[in-house]
Symmetry: C2
Subunit: 511 residues, 2 copies
């Protein structure tokens, strides 16, 4: 029996395990402010890597970054009826702009400083960005407008869970305007593909890209697409969305342009976003019973060197050896960037530090003691293969030159192995052979631990017929995830209605 580093295993209690990883890996903590977390350096470092690499891809596809106000006047929301229905309920509202002493040693909002028009803290920025687009767009020559914003947004969630659903979260939101529907639809799918390949290649998160059914659309969208990742408990996590908004927002916000024939037309708009939720997905896909495992491309430190010091005169030789090693590694390049190697020289016991880095999920941990220095070696632990078959920690003695020479390739291997493991798990947990609603019920009743998803055939009902389907699934705690792009054509009967099926849709439990 291996004694793992965490106090809770995934199998025993997945939800408690998730919180335990967040705490033990120093990712984030409760802030004392309702529903808001403090993102600690290791968690924020992962977010910075995600930001940098996703930003590169957003810019490479021709988008420019801007910044729009945090506050949105109430009246902006009143214009867009359908959008408001979706969002109006839970938003933070600023009503005053000054505090005064209450005469009892405390502070209260100053009644004399009540705003004439309350301001909403942005839950998303379609309304305020659309207003700017209306100013910017006059002619077909001004199109397309391709912009993106990195920002904090606020949604007043009743039940919060760190990274997955927090009152305030960080994200990017892309907003574009186009002259034609075809171009806007192509943009929507292009950004979906950016998200899909980013999730797979960078975060090592296998996902299914597809279109959301009507009931799961973004408020005001004509079509919503998502990437869905499978967590180790078999639940789905929506990890990025891309919306084709048609002229719904441009009509409300008056985004019109003169086309090449001189006529006024409404612009076609899109929006798409990815958030700190991605870190929740990373934890639940790559974490294990020893803590987090961070894919090297997004690891703040890819290789951590832990010197084994004895508070003696030989320590200086060990530290010198480690410094040279750190410099040699930092001079290497992996994934087209300099290798991020840390020498952890904090005044803490080496074993404590090693396990600290295991829990944080540093991809490669290198230990160096006096004997390693004498032999010109290093002891190497791969976080993705922590134990040998006999259950002991798999620490390999390697000649220093060999380790340095192979370090970039090793990081590539760790990245690939995390992705391959997760891909195998996703593939193994989508059943496509369930054609009967009773079998569907049985599948989810029997598979308590990791039920995964079903890809079923349906007749794509809408309106009241869709509502009825949603209700039947809800009773089983299930939701429609998406209609995978490139799924096989439908050939049988709809699992819900028995009428001819028109497409395949994923069903599962979800976060």
């Amino acid at each position: 029996m291996i004694k793992h580093a965490l106090s809770v295993t995934r199998e025993a209690d997945f939800a408690a395990w998730y919180q335990n990883v967040i705490t033990e890996a120093d990712l984030a903590e409760e802030s004392g402010v309702r529903g808001c977390m403090v993102i600690r350096p290791w968690g924020y470092g992962i977010w910075e890597r995600i930001q940098r690499l996703l930003d590169d891809r957003i810019k490479a596809t021709g988008h420019e970054n801007c910044y729009f106000p945090l506050f949105i006047p109430l009246s902006y929301f009143e214009k867009e009826a359908e959008h408001v229905d979706g969002f109006a309920k839970e938003m933070a509202v600023v009503t005053h702009h000054r505090l005064i002493a209450d005469g009892k040693g405390g502070l209260v909002p100053d009644p004399a400083a009540k705003l004439e028009e309350p301001l909403v803290v942005r839950p998303t920025s379609e309304t305020v960005i659309g207003t700017a687009f209306a100013r910017w767009v006059q002619s077909w020559r001004d199109l397309p407008v391709l912009i993106n914003q990195w920002a904090n947004v606020v949604r007043w969630e009743m039940r919060t869970r760190m990274f997955l659903r927090t009152t305030e979260f960080l994200w990017q939101e892309g907003h574009t305007a186009h002259a034609s529907e075809a171009e806007a639809r192509a943009e929507t799918l292009k950004m979906l593909e950016v998200y899909r390949s980013f999730a797979e290649d960078v975060v090592a998160l296998p996902v299914v890209a597809g279109e959301k059914p009507e009931n799961e659309r973004f408020p005001g969208a004509v079509a919503t697409y998502s990437i869905e990742a499978m967590m180790q408990d078999g639940k789905a996590l929506q990890a990025g969305t891309s919306h084709f908004l048609g002229t719904n927002f441009s009509a409300a916000q008056n985004i019109r342009f003169q086309n090449t024939e001189g006529q006024l037309e409404l612009a076609q708009t899109t929006s798409w976003g990815m958030s700190t939720r991605m870190i929740g997905g990373l934890i639940m896909v790559h974490g294990d019973d020893d803590g987090l495992r961070v894919p090297p491309r997004v690891a703040p430190w890819q290789i951590v060197i832990v010197p084994m010091l004895r508070d003696g005169p030989e320590d200086e030789a060990v530290l010198g050896y480690c410094r040279t090693l750190q410099a040699e590694l930092a001079a290497l390049s992996a994934f087209g960037e300099p290798v991020r190697a840390l020498l952890d020289a904090k005044p803490v016991k080496a074993a404590t530090k090693r396990w600290g880095w295991v829990k944080k999920g540093a991809p490669v941990i290198v230990e160096v003691g006096g004997r390693d220095v004498a032999g010109g070696n290093v002891s190497v632990v791969r976080r993705d293969r922590l134990y040998r078959d006999d259950g002991k920690l798999d620490s390999a003695l390697v000649a220093r030159g060999d380790f340095v020479g192979g370090a970039a390739a090793l990081l590539g291997e760790v990245q690939a192995s995390l992705h391959a493991d997760a891909r195998a798990r996703l593939d193994a947990n989508i059943r496509r052979d369930v054609a009967d609603f009773a079998d569907l019920e049985a599948h989810f009743a029997e598979s308590e631990i990791r039920p995964g998803w079903l890809e079923i055939q349906w007749s794509k009902p809408s309106g009241a017929a869709l509502d009825a389907v949603v209700e039947r699934l809800k009773a089983l705690k299930l939701t429609l995830r998406n209609v995978p792009l490139g799924a096989a054509p439908a050939v049988g009967a709809c699992i819900f209605t028995g009428t001819p099926a028109v497409e395949r849709v994923l069903v599962g439990r979800a976060y």
Copy 2:
């Protein structure tokens, strides 16, 4: 007479010129939300460059990035009396978490969703970060804590001006805790030096680093330091501040640690920040009557290639030549990074594009027409030297290979020349020979256009005596800026009191 690209000159109306640059260079615009601006791609691109390069320096000095909540409970402010006095007055207060329909087609805050404790939108984060420090710090081994945050903050300003004073602005705020006063004071000065060298080397902004007098200290600080830049109208702009907070915040927030002798001690804390205000400084230091001039290190595009197209069959050869040129330039390195070269192929007349890039302040503009292609040349305009002595645009015909070979050095020259011009202006506009208050009054009465600053000697009064000095200066619209580090020792009498002077302090008008 040169006909300049802007409709207002600096000399005619500096304030109107400033707004005109912001509009014509596409930096930012009014958002429709009170006091908040939209930062457009060219303005935000400059901010991204500032962020990236300052972040590198903040990390190189051992700090890690985190993220703390946007909202701060009211009670956190009640703890820190002195800090509240400085900030309490003007803050955005969230009082409700839901909107409902008002029955008349509009929306109102839902009275049933009133928060028990109002939340303040952070004006700065000492209180919420200090609360986290109190959790993190138990022993001397946990110190120092060295963290930084990139965030938006809100201060309800009555009069706003784009980049200089906006309700919401973007900044970084560093927060550190240390075991000893000496270490915290050293940190405060280290970050001041990071700001000073960053402003000079990256933004090409000559500044004076020094300590703020008592009346200009950050609320709750023991000592506040600043860097002050001189605008072209002679006014000062505080472009970065660093605060030694002593134990004022740690006492209020209970940041205590067990020292090496086993006794409980209060930690010594610091904070320091730089904001989007820096862009306002960049405009007012480097702008001219043709628009902005962006120092190459922070220019989103350093070299812009404008093809001169004629809607004819020869266009393809011109575009091909430009694409090759763009690729050759992008393969170069300047300031340790790849050169940022843009090919502007938009369907707009070449002359319009050229003047657009002049107004935006791209450091180098390259025009390519059919004749240039035939001759293997390019026509090069340096934004820092736009006109020849005869008043004509200084466009130099250069062999393409020579231009590419010298492009990195050229960018270095433009960076250096912008800095040198600004440095000469700063040095020429600080007078150190005024020893009499009547002469001070006369100086500022006579020099309406560009009075610059005076470095005067004073007895460093405090309390009521300082208040009296501040009032006398205020009557002349003057403020005390800072006591420059490394200024000559005081030798004469205090200009205000006639008593022996103890140090030299800068006096000037300010933004």
